[in-house]
């Protein structure tokens, strides 16, 4: 079963990078669904856990390079939160590679494509989300 | 078949029943646990709704009862056994030693002032003052005979020396006697519920939180403060009092029944407090204002309008204390304005429930009668035999068979007396 990936892309850099990959017709696997957020600093640890809870195999968070953040320090906050999320995942027994944080600028379309390809391969080797098709009942 | 009657409990009901029976020419034995008759009514300051001084209207009856030739008053005594059945009961009575010869003691009280150890809590005054090892139960005690608290008495002998009548005998022995009666009337009254179990109200932790009965003693002229409302913490007169109803009553965790008298009692005390101290602010926290007796509602209306007593429909959640002023602070949900409020007052009076007196279970077993689920005496039939217990020949009246106020208790006492006479008459025929 193909791994399913949800990607949180920041509007100013990585979302534009993804667009550029499209404009340049760089092909990458269709496993990813992109959710646009204004800044990587907007991604809550609960979004990451919710994704795994409902059976998604991989979470990708992309933001501007350090120092490039449109909101100055949003990406630094994202780093702290991903660090915490990884600690929780480690205790939960979820493989750490299921969560990735990448800095992708608006002109790095190719990097975006290669990150997706790499991530899909990683997830294939790690296997499907052990939590299976989540049946969480309440929001 | 014997015409004599045993009356257990020397409160107002017991006294009234004895007087009525004696009036009919019947021989009455009146057994009272406490060294004096008078019961709880003696401890009250005033009675509602008239506001008469309680002891004033009780003392004459006590004297009449004590001095009646047909009535043998056995104080400081307990019923130990009953055998036989209606018309022919054999009753064992244990007369516990007073260590004072009732005959000789004139009640002059010299011995009381001679006793050097004044550090025991005075039961009558709800431990608001202390008494010596030898003491008179209360001023108007009947019989007006002192009693020695042998347990704490160190036998220094001062009282013996002082007593001209030579009435004090520290080695007096208990005496068991047996009497033969045709009918028994039980009127052993009630006790006041101990609210320390309700931790949230802080009784026992905060000095200025007292029970209704303690309040009675405080404001009673013969009480520990000579009638001055001096609150326990700093002996000053508070400028506001809050009476809290249903403490332990209408509460399934304590006593599910309604004690019937507290609402009126609080209103009475509030009015009297206003009379004594015109600037006093009085609050009554109630759930339902139960002024159902004759003249009661008007009494409550007067309290509201003339005496500015403020009635708050709420049962407080918690009482804390202001550390400096020691003023109790009441946290309550005013169910009319639907707001949680805080009220600081000088004194809090907990109108506690009135519960069956201690030892009622043992007495019931001795008498072979049953108790109801609230541990009052079970009555045979509320409509047709409201005064008969579950055993023929034994009658119950007053608070010990269910909550009621004084007029009802007296009415039932007279009823019980008549019923006893009727029983004897039927058996006799």
């Amino acid at each position: 079963m193909d791994p399913k990936i949800v990607a949180f892309c920041c509007n100013w850099c990585s979302y534009a990078g993804a667009d550029l990959a499209g404009v340049s017709r760089m092909q990458y696997p269709p496993n990813v669904r992109i959710i646009k957020v204004m800044c990587s600093g907007r991604v809550e640890p609960s979004f990451i856990l919710r994704a795994f809870e409902v059976g998604i195999d991989g979470v990708l968070i992309t933001g501007c390079h350090i120092g490039d953040c449109h909101y100055v320090s949003g990406n630094l906050r994202a780093e702290d939160r991903v660090k915490m999320a990884k600690e929780l995942m480690k205790t939960l027994g979820l493989e750490e590679q299921r969560l990735r944080l990448e800095w992708i600028s608006a002109s790095e379309g190719e990097k975006f494509a290669s990150v997706i390809k790499e991530f899909v391969e990683d997830l294939k080797s790690v296997g499907p989300n052990p939590l299976g098709k989540g049946e969480a009942s309440c929001p | 078949m014997v015409d004599d009657v045993l009356v257990i409990g020397g409160g107002v009901a017991g006294i009234q029943a004895s007087i009525d029976l004696a009036g009919r020419g019947l021989k009455v034995y009146l057994v009272e646990r406490f060294p004096s008759i008078g019961g709880k009514m003696a401890q009250l300051d005033k009675t509602f709704p008239t506001g008469d001084c309680s002891i004033c209207i009780l003392a004459p009856k006590m004297m009449e009862c004590f001095s009646h030739e047909n009535i043998d008053v056995l104080t400081h005594a307990e019923v130990k056994g009953v055998s036989g059945n209606a018309g022919d009961f054999r009753v064992k009575i244990l007369k516990k030693p007073r260590y004072v010869d009732e005959e000789k003691c004139t009640g002059c009280g010299d011995c009381v002032s001679a006793c050097p150890y004044i550090n025991l809590p005075d039961e009558f005054d709800m431990a608001l003052r202390s008494r010596g090892n030898i003491f008179i139960p209360f001023l108007q005690a009947v019989p007006r005979v002192v009693m020695v608290d042998r347990e704490h008495c160190v036998k220094c002998g001062n009282c013996q020396v002082i007593c001209d009548a030579g009435a004090i005998d520290l080695y007096q022995k208990p005496e068991e006697i047996e009497i033969h009666v045709g009918a028994i009337i039980v009127a052993c009254g009630f006790d006041s519920f101990d609210p320390s179990g309700i931790k949230e109200y802080g009784y026992g932790r905060y000095k200025n939180v007292i029970t209704a009965l303690e309040y009675e003693r405080l404001v009673c002229a013969s009480g520990p403060t000579g009638g001055h409302l001096d609150r326990p913490s700093d002996k000053k007169t508070p400028n506001s009092i809050a009476f809290i109803q249903c403490v332990g009553s209408r509460d399934v965790n304590h006593n599910p029944y309604c004690s019937s008298v507290c609402c009126m009692h609080a209103t009475k005390e509030a009015i009297l407090a206003k009379e004594h101290y015109p600037s006093m602010e009085n609050y009554i926290f109630y759930t339902d204002m139960r002024a159902f007796g004759k003249g009661f509602q008007e009494y409550v209306d007067r309290a509201k309008n003339e005496y500015e007593v403020r009635y708050i429909r709420s049962k407080p959640g918690e009482i804390t204390e202001d550390k400096e002023t020691k003023n109790p602070v009441i946290w309550y949900d005013d169910t009319v304005t639907r707001q949680v409020k805080r009220l600081e007052v000088g004194l809090v009076v907990l109108c506690t429930a009135l519960v069956p007196s201690k030892g009622i279970k043992e007495l019931a077993d001795v008498l072979g009668v049953e108790l109801d689920k609230n541990r009052f005496f079970k009555i045979a039939d509320p409509l047709y035999a409201p005064l008969d217990s579950s055993r023929e020949g034994i009658l119950v009246c007053g608070y010990c068979q269910g909550p009621k106020d004084i007029p009802e208790a007296v009415t039932q006492a007279k009823g019980a007396a008549a019923r006893a006479a009727e029983v004897l008459a039927c058996l006799g025929a």
């Binding site: 929780l88 969480a136 | 209408r250 407080p316 946290w331 949900d333």
Partner: protein
Amino acid sequence: MSLENIVNETKAYYCLECGKCTGSCPISRVNKGYSPRLTVEKALLGFDKELLADGGIWSCMTCNLCKDRCPSNVDYTKFIRYARAEALKTGYTGNCTHGGVLSSLMRIMGNPNLKQDRLGWVSDNLKISEKGDILYFTGCLPYFETLFKDIGVNSLDIARSTVKILNRIGIKPVVMPDERCCGHDLFWTGDLENFEKIAKLNVGLIRGTGAKKVIFSCPECYRTFKQDYSEYVDMDFELVHISEFLAEKIDEGKIDFGSLEEDVTYQDPCRLGRHLGVYDPPRKVISSIQGIGLIEMEHSRERSICCGTSTWTNCDRFSEQIQKERLKEAKAAADTLITACPKCQIHLSCAMKSKTPIDEVKIKDFSVLVASAMGLGDDP
């Protein structure tokens, strides 16, 4: 369960509207908009929709103050729990704190095919075993450590201290590698479906270790096992809180708690105190430490005030006011406050970070206090 059944189940119809519950409720005292009495009133008069949509039902701390004091014995706490389950079905929830990461974690732990790796904190000098009579249930401590170390609370110290104490008295407790959250918050926010899964999972795991007695350091786990699991799964092992276990040991004379020169005061956790009636064992253990001064707060034992927030929902300005009030009361008693529940420690420590002037109180967990008094040191 419709609101009508809830009223019957909890005997809410006995309510005399005397107001004693609202008068006692710490939330109502600060939050004018919340009143247990009016909530029951709405249920009685059939305002179902309005009640289920009212966010207030998620502010209740389920601390049992009102339930214990209600003259008509209305079980308001159970009433709230049922109301929340019903509200959840119609799509209403409370305001989840921390972005809802906690409830997400718990639901994940309800998933049978999860394989956790949660024993990272067990260093070499902590002796635990796979099988055995005595089992120590650690609940969510590893996750709390990750989430709350930034406010200076190391929840795993509780686990380490507890194991050290047990080791000291010769016990190598079983600590399960894949133990799940006890599901307390799922139960109390009405997610019974996931709660049932977690209950069965946990009991199955415990049975697998052959444990006869399960020791809890967290009162919420203790109460959940003791009172809420039985409806879903039966258990053939004893349940005991660490304070009770140590108190027994004092009677058997088996334990010496060393000494500690410090004045402390004790916060009764609602679940341990009012819910389970365990007041004395913790006090007994604490006061058996030589040199320690245990001073009671104004509100303690049955009158103890809750730490302000429950089930990670509606942690708002009112909870903060309650917490600050509680810290002031603790400060008046002593400089150190002993908590016996990881959540009390977290919530009160967080309140201390408030920007408004606050009473500085050292907050220390019960097991950590005992371990340090016994000189078991704080090396991990």
